[in-house]
Symmetry: C2
Subunit: 116 residues, 2 copies
């Protein structure tokens, strides 16, 4: 999941299942809030629940969604399960979007040349 592909064309890479899945998981207010909190450090579900003002089952659902998208990692420590961001996955997503934007900018420059 969100494995780093090398040398493939941006256009194909962007629309891969892993990328769609990760972006879909991120495209939700509550889940993005969770991601924002986790960017400051790992948290157990109970602490997260307080911070995001969600009931536990709902939070678990959203965490599962993020986990399945490869965006967060869970590690149990005693009674608690700590969630943290998968920074590699975020970096990879950022890289894909960045390269897509760059490709678009280059294409726009070409289009402008061809037109005028």
């Amino acid at each position: 999941m969100l494995k780093i592909l090398q040398g493939s064309e941006v256009a194909r890479e962007v629309a891969s299942d892993a990328v769609v899945g990760a972006l879909r998981a991120l495209g939700d207010e509550k889940r993005l809030r969770i991601v924002a909190l986790l960017s400051e450090g790992q948290l157990c579900v109970c602490d997260l629940a307080v911070r995001v003002d969600m009931k536990q089952p709902l939070l678990s659902f959203h965490l599962k969604t993020l986990r399945e998208a490869g965006l967060v990692l869970a590690t149990r420590r005693g009674k608690w399960i700590y969630y943290s961001l998968n920074d590699e996955a975020l970096g990879y997503l950022a890289d894909v979007l960045s390269r897509t934007g760059e490709a678009a900018a280059e294409a726009a420059a070409r289009d402008a040349d061809a037109c005028c």
Copy 2:
């Protein structure tokens, strides 16, 4: 929309409405496919419709979604409307995700220190 904020904390910036909206718009297979195609250059709706194998009203709906999220730009040229990627918006999104990932990596390093 997707205006660049400076100096604000990553955690707050990530979960902004504009970012959620853009990520939600991108988190769809068909729309991401559209974005991938547009990264190679601008296209009119009719050409896009052929490439993505969608009926025109459905494509228009997805384009509207992308437009409202600030991810694509539309310019009419005669009878045709050409869509292109908003590379600044993509760059901004990439930057936000990248900084979120970096913040998480730093936090993880701190957590590791504190723990062992």
